[in-house]
Structure formats: C-alpha cells, structure tokens
C-alpha cells in the first residue's frame, strides 16, 4: 500500500480523543505559562487566553476588541481605526487557520471543563443534557453577550458611560477568575467595591464562576453554549480552511455522533442534507468522527485535503481498545 495510504489509514485508526487530551494539556501550558518562555503567539487569538493570567502565552481577542471599541466614532476612520482593523484581520487569519478547532483543542477554559467532566465520569455520575427546545433558546445567549461586549465599551467613548464598564465581558467571564488560579493568583476572586458598576460586574463574575463550576460538573462543555467567542467564530467559520463535512447519504442516523458530542448538537445526527456540518456551538473536537461506524460519512478536511475520516476499520479498532 502506498505510504500516503498507510499514513491515512494510521490516522483514521487512531483514537483522536487521546490525541486531543494530550494536545489540550500542551496548549494549556502554552497559553497559561507561555510568558515564562517569552512566548506571545498573538494578542488577537480566537480562543480564551485570559489577559488576567500574568505570564500568558497570548491574549484572547475579546480583550483588545473591547478596548478598541472604547473609541469615539470619528476615530474609527482615523489612524486608530487601522489598529482595530489589523487586530480583527489577525483574529480572522488565525480563525481561518483552525476554524472552531480552537475551542475543541486549544481553549484553556474548554480544557478545564473537560478535566471536570473526566472527574465526574470517574466518580460515576451521569452527565446532563438540555431538552431540545431549551437548547435552541439557550444557545442564543452567546450572541446577546457578543453584542453587549461591543456596545458597552462603545458606550463609554460615545455615550459617556463610566470607565468602569471598560471590559464588561471580561469581568463576568469565568476565565478571569479560574485561569489565574493555575498560576496561584487569587486576586480575581474579589468583589471590587470601588464603584457601583464594579460591584455589579465583579459580583456577576463571581456568580457566573459559581454557576460555571457546578454547571461544568453537571453538563459536558457547559459554558461553550454561552461563550461569545464561539458566537463570533461562527459568523466567520464558513471561511475556515479546516472543515468538517458530512456525506448525508452514508448516514444511518444511528445517533452515535450526537451521543458522544460534548456540546450536544442534534443536527450532527439528524441533518443529512448540508455538507458543511459545523454548527454554531460545534467545537470541532471530532469525537463524532471517531464514533461514526459508516465509511467516510464524516470527514475532516484541511484546505480540501481529507486528514481524518470516519472508517469502519478505525471505528472497530477504537471499540476494541476501549477495554
């Protein structure tokens, strides 16, 4: 067999979940402790790389975005506007590269949630799921957050909102409170009484963290449904080079992909028409591809080249190894 074919077969037989777990650990260290090695990937990363983590290896794009939105309208077309544009284009470039796989493989908050899920699984408590109609309503929250995180800073500069609303989403994001813990920095677990807005924002932040911890324990990838970054990504995810495609005619709708999907997207199993199957909450962790017994039903493509496919042979190899 040609070497390419043997390589393809080796990849299709491999257990991508184990690979992803190790990759996540690597990405976690890179993003949380990258600063110690003077690594700074970019300040407009399409994933959570929390600016509150002192020695981080990169910065989440929402942080500069909120700062840049804090600008009078007339400045947008001036020199400073260029800064906004370059920031966005860097974000877009990085997004196009890995599409939503940033969430599945690299996002540190996602990694934390996966660790909590593993803890729950070992304890032996079952995970929860949202009923269908609730799921449809809940996953719209992320767009509300996205609009707010753009409008509020914009309000500071143009509508005279107080500066305490500076980076509103970051104040309520659970990353701000949880990720610094990994570099022993408890400074974010506080309520800031310096102004009413600050009290409200940091209070809400701690509330969200409380809900996050228990939610992540009860439901897999609990926060990813609400995360504005995934909303922002989905707007441009069509342009991504990394794509997840489904051949509806091969699908027996056995629902395995839906059951292993951490985020719980129903359309992955039921939608047999659309070819590009990346839905708004998908984090491209490719667990569905490894759980699909049909030959080449789900394919991961990078720039048109199929790099990981669901194969019958690979499927049964993984089931054997499950032990």
């Amino acid at each position: 067999m040609g070497s390419i074919k043997r390589l393809k077969q080796f990849i299709n037989d491999s257990d991508i979940n184990r690979f992803r777990t190790y990759f996540q650990v690597g990405a976690f260290f890179l993003l949380i402790y990258g600063g110690y090695l003077a690594i700074d990937i970019s300040s407009n990363m399409p994933t959570f790389a929390c600016p509150f983590v002192e020695m981080r290896g990169g910065t989440c794009y929402l942080w500069p975005l909120q700062h840049q939105m804090n600008m009078e309208i007339r400045h947008f077309l001036t020199g400073r506007g260029i800064g906004v544009l370059t920031g966005f284009l860097t974000f877009l470039f990085l997004l196009i590269l890995f599409n939503k796989a940033w969430c599945g493989f690299i996002c540190p908050l996602g990694t934390v949630q996966d660790w909590i899920t593993k803890l729950r699984a070992n304890i032996g408590i079952r995970y929860g799921t949202y009923p269908e109609k609730d799921f449809k309503k809940i996953n719209k929250i992320k767009y509300i957050l996205l609009v707010l995180l753009i409008l509020l800073p914009f309000g500071i500069a143009n509508l005279g909102l107080s500066h305490d609303w500076a980076t509103p989403y970051c104040m309520i994001c659970p990353s701000r409170t949880i990720l610094p813990l990994f570099s022993a920095d408890l400074s974010q677990l506080v309520i800031d009484f310096s102004s009413k807005t600050k009290v409200f924002l940091t209070g809400l932040g701690m509330a969200v963290t409380g809900i996050f911890v228990v939610g992540a324990f009860a439901k897999r990838r609990f926060f990813c449904l609400f995360c504005p970054m995934s909303g922002l990504q989905y707007i441009f995810s069509r342009l991504g080079i990394l794509r997840l495609e489904k051949d509806g005619s091969r699908c027996t709708r056995c629902g395995n992909c839906y059951r292993v999907c951490d985020v719980g997207i129903k359309e992955i199993a039921d939608d047999i028409e659309s070819r590009n199957i990346v839905k708004e909450d998908c984090m491209m962790c490719f667990k569905c591809v490894s759980a699909c017994p049909e030959e080449r039903c789900l394919t991961v493509k990078f720039g048109g080249i199929a790099i990981y496919e669901s194969t019958e042979r690979g499927f049964f190899k993984r089931i054997e190894k499950k032990g």
């Binding site: 699984a121 709708r253 059951r259 049964f316 089931i319």
Partner: protein
Amino acid sequence: MEIERIKKSTLNHLSMEAGEILKRVEEDFPDNPESMKYFYDLLRKVYCYRERPSDGSITIGTMCLQVPEELIYASGAVPLRLCSGAYSFERIGTGPMPARSCSLVKATVGMLRLVPDFYRDSLKALIIPTTCDQKKKAGEVIREMGINVYFLELPSRKDTEDGRAYWYYSVKKLVDVMGEITGRRLGKKALFNAIRLLNRAREEFRRFYQLRGSVPPPIYGKDAIIVTNAFYFDEIGRWIESLSRLNKELYNRINKKEQVSQRHAPRILLTGSPSIFPNLKIPLLIEETGGVIVADDLCSSTRLLYDPVVIDETASLDILLGAVADRYLRPCTCPFFIDNTDKKRRLLQMVRDFVIEGVVYQAFSGCYLFEMESKSVAKALESEGIPMLYVETDYSPEDTGQLSTRVEAFLESIKQRRRGLHI
C-alpha cells in the same frame, strides 16, 4: 392425546421441510464456501434433530430485533429469537390466528402453541416489542398459552425527542423486569461486557457484509441468511469464530477472483419482510434462476447485526443503557415507524455501494406494513432507475410456479437492460 399426534406429525413435517431446504441449499449450489458447513450442520441440528446448543442458562425469547440483547446477556440469560419461518408450524398456527395474518407470526404462534418442548423447556419469558400490531396481538394469544410474555413498548416515531424519551423509559422498565425474571440486578460491568461481546459479533458481521457485496460476489445470499439465522441459536463466541473463518475464506476467494454462479449474474438486493430459515423460498428462487443476492436489508439478517453500540463514558448505568437503547431505536428502518425515510436512503446507498442491478421486495401477505411501504420504496428506486420486483407471498409453496416465472422474467429484464438489447 390429539395434541400428541399433531405434535409428532408437525415435528416430522418440520424435519422434512428443513432437511429438504438444507439439501437444496447445499446440493443445488456447487460452489458453497467450505466453512459454511458449520452453519448448515448447526441449523440441521436445531431444526431436524432439535438439539439446540444451550449451556443451561435461562433462555429469554424475543420476537423482534428491537429487544436489546445486551440486557439479556448482561443479566446472565441467553436470548433466543423466536420468529419462525417453518411452514409446518404455520399450518398449526392458523387455528388461533386469523387466516389473513402474517405467516411469520402464525408460524411462531404455531410453534409455541403445539410444540411446548421445542423451546419451552428453559424459556423463562418472551419479550415482545410492540412493533407491528400482529406481533402485539399474537402476544396476547401466546400469553393465554401460559408463557410469561412481557410487552416492550416502542414509540411510533423515532426522530422526535419525546419518542426517544419514551423508549429510554421503557428500556429502563425492561431492566427492572429482567431483574425479576433472572433474579440478578443488572450491573454496569456486566452490561459493559455484554456490549463489547455483541460489538465483536457486529464487527465480524460487518466484515462479512462488505466481503459479500464485492464484485464479483464470492458467496450466495442464501448463505448469508443462513449465517445470520444461525446467530439466533449458536453460542455467540463460537458463532464469531466460525464467521471469521468464513470471512477469511471469502477474502481468499476474492483475491483469487473466484465467484459464485455465472459470470454476469444479476446483482440483487433483497428487502422487505424477513425471510427466516426454513422459509428461503424467495432467496432460493432468485439464486436458482441465476441471480445473486449480494446485499439484503432484512431485519432477520443485516439489520439484526449491522449497527454497533458506541460507549463514550462508562460513568453510570444510565449512560450505558442510553447507548444501548439508542442503538436499537435510531438506526432501525422498520416500516413500523412513521416517516421511515431512512429506509429509502439506506436502500439507495446500498444500491450505490454494492452496484445493485435489481431490488426484490418481498412482503408476507397480511403484513400490511411492508405492503404499504413497497409503493414508496418502488418510487424512490425508480427515481434512481433501479427496477424493483414486488413479491407478495407467504410460507406455502403453492405459488412457487408463478413466482419462479416472475423472478426469471425480472432477472431477464435486468440482463436485457444491461445489454441494452432493444430487439
């Protein structure tokens, strides 16, 4: 006393019928794979001499593939598929059942009614899923015969969330019922092992399913039906070994370009009502007149063993149960479900995968489910330009004459179409 006489004659009829079918299966086809012998002997033992291989553990009868066998294995019992294809049993079954009802159900009722010791020696319970109405109502008739029947309720829709919730709930109830029947609480470890055991069987069957569909076909369709029917009775470990032996032999045949029947035998797909040994009337008819069934969509063979169970987390029993329940509900293309569009899609996909030239749709007369669906399946196949022969028959050999003419005409029309012969 009269029951005794009927029982003895029925058993004789059964052995004759099974023996005759097996003879046709073995002798009329010269190029059977050597490792099929194991399966022929097994069926001969079960049907002609009634020695069913059982290690004495509790037997739980099932009347349809919708009953999760993992639960039965996990509770230490052995599942036994009781659908029967014997015409001799059908003749007795016509008593308590209406004349126009499905032959399969009549045969099963006949078997259970008159011949208690055929299976009833260790049959603790019979689980009847409420799929088609005839099996449901036959369940009441069987219960009156003193067999412990349990009805496993199924939703009539499989793609809505309520339907699935309803199904999980009834599977959980089944777990409690299994607890009472076998006296053993269903453990997570036991269920996990049962799942892996059956998955291995499915893996082996999947390889057989692919090998069987290759061009040119290395094995007849009737052998595939015999292999899957042997799965009902055989101890699962031995069945897997013998099937893997068969697979190796088929693999060698394909490499050596050996094939069954003549060179351009029309490649047929059999779908519709399940043909269960010894009712191989249609398959044998097709393959004796020159066609080869390279794939089938019957719930007695392919759909019984096609879909594996996927386990993502083994956190709690609920999750494993959910995985098992999902496997038996979602991929099922039984016409019993409303909006059974999956069946047509799967058929078209099989046609593309295995280069099918003609589809034979068999419906047992009286089984209105398959009869009603045949129209829409015909339309779907026609849109793809695939001819379909709709055959409505039952277990009686009376209409063999006409059927053989129709089957032969169908195969000729395929050959004619293929050669583009417009004389």
